[in-house]
Amino acid sequence: MTSTVQGIVFDIRRYSVHDGPGIRTAVFLKGCPARCAWCHNPESQRSDVELMHWPQRCVACGACVAVCPRKAVSMVIGPAQDAGDADGQGGGTQARPVIQFDMCDACGTCVEVCPRQAVTLVGRWMSVADVMDELERDRPFYDQSGGGVTFSGGEPLAQPDFLLALLKECKRVDLHTCVDTSGIAPPEVVQAMIPWVDLWLYDIKSVDDAAHCEHVGVSSRIVLANLSKLASASANVAARVPVIPSFNDTEDDMEAIARVLAELEGKRPLRVHLLPYHVLGEQKYERLGRGYEMRLLRAPSQELMERLARVFVREGFQTRIGG
């Protein structure tokens, strides 16, 4: 008997091969308590349905402008996207719909009429059974590869009832489960999940509480307390450390994290993944009508990544650069 509880999901991706062992299906739950400035999945942050705008697909027909009940879309004349034309007359103008996201309540009326899917809704309320139907589809691939299901986000622990119901159902039908988490959740939520999770992909961004509060928006103490809880419960944990320039990209930062990991009481993390920051989430912010604060950062060099990785190797951790 599957649960009737529902949750909000923003993507289900099959053939996910970087979020746990083997070939997996990743379920991305929408909503996250953190606001990491570098987040490359901004559509995962809010826990409600949102509108996304895809200017590359737009043919500027104006259908959305006509139907919007809140008048959140208007045609604006601006410079043409491909400046310069055959006549050599650079910089023509073009009318394009512009969305005022603060006025949009994601009712989806424009999505219905858009002939080019240039506006879409991100986020879908699903039941446990809906999700399980999707997860079952690639079972032969999980069987062959030792894969399974990864619940990611957003922060999957931010929908504890839904996640717990999903995890229980997965274990009932014998699917391998991973939870990819920021660790930002009440301890009793983490506690409740432990028996149903085969592998935790656990983010450690910084052990410096002030920096953590500033850049993540939440204290690192919660994260570390939950990590201790997992270790003492002998849970399988793979630690994931995003390497963010000017936030935590020094050997000192890494040594602090490595020390915490090494000193955990109970089961040691199985391995450490260092995930280099990349600039490529930027466009998604535009699609959501949000600003992006990290514009000026550059991705860390391979050489730096390797140097940072050696910090964890020295502490005896199996360490990998990448997911």
Binding site: R14, Y15, H18, R137, P140, P276
Partner: protein, 787 residues
């Protein structure tokens, strides 16, 4: 790669294909002076004449010798099958793709000698004379193609008998069969006698041809100054004196023995899919092992011999094709597709050390010919699969991968013995056959989406306005999806019948007028039956019809069902009208059809169930019907390049495809319509009953980034193993390069499915900003594809 091999390879790769008139000239000489009445004896004597008189070529550096023409890439013609007109020759000389240079001397000889003798007497002339008006209408409209109009049946592969028996052993078998003939009680005894004597003439002719190579090698040795090369030439002479007459004693002789047989087959006739040694690792391993153990050969020397053997295939461009045949198969490749791995005749893991040596050679040689594949059984080790995938990852398309266990199952279903099935494999593109025992000819491609076009237009061809199909009714009056399917089924049955009738006539014509006594030597049970390969002499005689465009027709029907009958967004009459206008003024409708309708390849049962329905209709009206050679008809799902030609004759289709653009290829989803990743494509494709076919072709696209590292190989291996567990027949991988990404920038609509690894996440390439696209292209270009 040794310097020798590098030079041979370079010469082969840079040789420009040309038309050689040698074969046509010799054949004309023979036919204008010989008056043998028996067609099969005449063909045998013609081959003997060619073998006695054609130029012998032994190139510098070569270890394996023998050319089809007077030199590498000099391509003979077969005027007894197709007599090229001067215009044909001009087109061959000047066309942009797959051209063959034709010298003024060749033109002159064609004009004065070849054309006057053969014009009106070729098989092509005969075939077109015998076809009905309905057949010609369908052929002209592009409903189907005809494989035998320019090329002989062919489509078969060698087994191990050459190595076990040699020509001597085969001639002993012929003598025994002649001995057993019962002229009093068997009305066909005289025909059998002629056939057997013709085969004996061919066996002797190939030995004589080999001996001519031995003579030339000795002659060259006598004047050779380099002592090393002199030794090699003497060795070549010894090898050519021994094989193919006698069973080979070592690897060198075994490879050379096969190569002479190969030349015999492709000089006798221009049979489709050339010919190929089949399970080369199974056949060569005993020789290789013995040579290594005795110390006669090192692994490096074996590798070099095998590479020299590889070059010989690349020296033989496909015989020149013109017209529709060129359109359906526009390539220099002649589809010799060497098998590696699979099962032993006893059903055990067939991978051996020679299999790995072959994979090394495939990797190093990187030639379009021969084509290569691995036969992958659940019993084969992952090491073997992963070695092959490391080559696949380099992105040049070889080797392709077949499910050996499914191939066996397909053959068992078609009535072959378990042992014959295990010794079989796949050839050409993806066709299943019992090697050394089966004539499994492809007869032509069938344009499935065009049949739907006729069903929606009361039998009228939208391109020409001519009624060529059955009057199945005005589509605007259809009130249910079932009526659409009924009309499609009626058109399908009608044209399959027309095609079948044509096949019966054409196969009879080949049986009577164009026997292949040399090929018959190599295929069981032609000797035992005293019957020609082209007349049902083989143990198994299959005629395949190959369905093309299953993705396009599935999406079209799914779009009709969804938008016309389920959602009622548009009437069928309006839709057909929009198709007639190629969506001009109906762009919104096209968008709905193309973007917002169920699509095959996404593990979406609402589309995939229609795929199954179409497949079953096609299967039901072809499978198991008798052919004139005593065998049965079966279906295949492969396109070569025919999906482009078939697309060019189709109006716009209900899946949103524009008029004249390519159809989907093989059993792959429509280009750009699979949006849910590789597992979904494989799940959709596996819903087809592959065991009911003689081969299916599936292409999967990847960016190099997704295949990086050991994990990339592991995941690819899991995809292949899982697809095969689900019953898939074949898969090949396109590793997408920067070039493709640029094309996607220019034509995003056809590349919507292209997923690129951006960094920690993946995204659809076409949805990225121009700048980001450029960045990824630049990055892709920096990724190594190997030397």
């Amino acid at each position: 790669m040794t310097d020798r091999v590098a030079r041979l390879r370079q010469r082969s790769v840079s040789a420009r294909p040309s038309i050689s008139v040698e074969r046509a000239r010799l054949l004309t000489q023979f036919y204008s002076t010989d008056a043998t009445a028996s067609p099969v004896l005449r063909r045998a004597k013609a081959l003997a004449y060619l073998m006695r008189n054609k130029a012998i070529y032994i190139g510098d550096d070569e270890l394996i010798v023998g050319e089809r023409g007077p030199e590498p890439a000099a391509t003979p013609t077969y005027p007894e099958l197709t007599c090229h007109s001067l215009e044909d020759l001009q087109i061959l000389n000047s066309r942009e793709k797959t051209s063959y240079s034709v010298s003024p001397e060749v033109m002159e000889e064609y004009k004065n000698v070849i054309i006057p003798f053969w014009s009106g007497r070729s098989m092509r002339d005969l075939i077109f004379q015998e076809m009905t008006p309905e057949w010609k209408d369908a052929y002209d409209a592009g409903i189907f193609t005809e494989f035998m109009e320019q090329r002989a049946p062919g489509h078969t592969v060698a087994d191990g008998k050459i190595y076990a028996l040699g020509m001597k052993g085969l001639r002993r078998r012929i003598a025994e069969a002649l001995e057993k003939l019962d002229f009093i009680n068997d009305p066909e005894a005289q025909a059998r006698s002629e056939q057997l004597r013709a085969m004996d003439i061919c066996a002797e002719a190939i030995c004589a041809y080999a001996r001519r190579h031995a003579e030339l090698a000795y002659l060259k040795a006598a004047s050779e100054r380099d002592p090393q090369r002199r030794k090699e030439l003497v060795r070549i002479a010894e090898v050519c004196s021994h094989v193919p007459e006698n069973p080979p004693r070592n690897l060198w002789e075994a490879l050379q023995a096969y190569w002479f047989c190969h030349l015999g087959v492709i000089i006798e006739l221009n049979g489709w899919d050339s010919f190929n040694p089949g399970r080369l690792d199974q056949h060569m391993y005993p020789f290789y092992k013995a040579d290594l153990e005795s110390g006669d050969l090192t692994e490096e020397q074996a590798r070099e011999l095998l590479q020299c053997f590889w070059v010989k295939f690349n020296n033989q461009p496909a015989p020149p094709k013109v017209g529709v045949t060129a359109a359906e198969s526009g390539t220099y490749t002649d589809f010799a597709n060497i098998n590696c791995g699979g099962l032993t005749p006893e059903g055990q893991d067939g991978v051996n050390d020679f299999s790995y040596l072959m994979l090394d050679v495939i990797d190093e040689m990187r030639l379009v010919q021969p084509s290569s594949n691995i036969q992958l059984s659940a019993k084969n080790p992952d090491r073997f699969l992963k070695r092959a995938l490391r080559i696949v990852r380099k992105g040049w398309g070889q080797p392709s991968i077949f499910n050996a266990d499914m191939v066996v199952q397909e053959m068992l279903r078609a009535g072959k013995s378990l042992e014959d099935a295990r010794q079989g494999g796949t050839s050409g593109c993806v066709e299943t056959g019992a090697f050394g025992k089966e004539a499994y000819i492809l007869t032509g491609y069938l344009n499935l989406p065009k049949l739907l076009e006729l069903a929606l237009n009361d039998g009228v061809d939208m391109r020409t306005g001519k009624r060529i199909g059955l009057p199945t009714g005005d589509a605007s009056e259809f009130t249910s999806f079932d009526q659409v399917m009924d009309a499609f089924r009626a058109q399908l049955r009608h044209f399959v019948d027309i095609k079948m009738r044509g096949n019966a006539v054409i196969e009879s014509l080949y049986a009577r007028y164009m026997p292949a006594p040399f090929l018959s030597l190599l295929i069981d049970d032609c000797i035992e039956k005293g019957r020609d390969y082209n007349a049902g002499g083989a143990r198994y005689n299959t005629s395949y019809i190959q369905g093309v465009g299953i993705g396009t027709i599935t999406d079209s029907l799914a779009a009709i069902k969804h938008n016309v009958f389920d959602e009622k967004r548009v009437s069928l009459g309006q839709l057909v009208e929009a198709l007639g206008r190629d969506f001009e003024g109906h762009e919104e409708l096209r968008h709905v059809l193309w973007e917002e309708s169920p699509k095959y390849g996404n593990d979406d049962d609402s589309a995939d169930s229609i795929m199954k329905q179409v497949f079953n209709e096609f299967f039901d009206c072809v499978d198991g019907r008798p052919n004139v050679r005593g065998g049965e008809c079966h279906i295949d799902m492969l396109p070569t390049t025919c999906h482009v030609y078939f697309g060019s004759v189709c109006a716009a289709s209900a899946d949103g495809r524009r008029a004249g653009t390519p159809l989907s290829e093989g059993i792959s989803p429509v280009q750009g319509r699979d949006r849910r990743g590789p597992t979904a494509v494989l799940q959709s494709a596996a819903k087809m009953d592959h065991a009911a076919t003689g081969g299916t072709l599936l292409n999967l696209k990847f960016t190099p980034k997704l295949l990086e590292g050991e994990e990339g190989i592991d995941n690819l291996a899991h995809l292949v193993r899982t697809y095969f567990r689900l019953g898939g027949h074949h898969v090949q991988f396109n590793v997408v390069r920067a070039e493709t990404l640029r094309k996607a920038q220019r034509d995003p609509d056809s590349h919507r499915d292209l997923i690129v690894r951006v960094a920690g996440y993946s995204d659809y390439f076409c949805d990225l900003s121009r700048a980001l696209q450029d960045e990824i292209i630049a990055r892709t270009e920096h990724e190594s594809f190997g030397a």
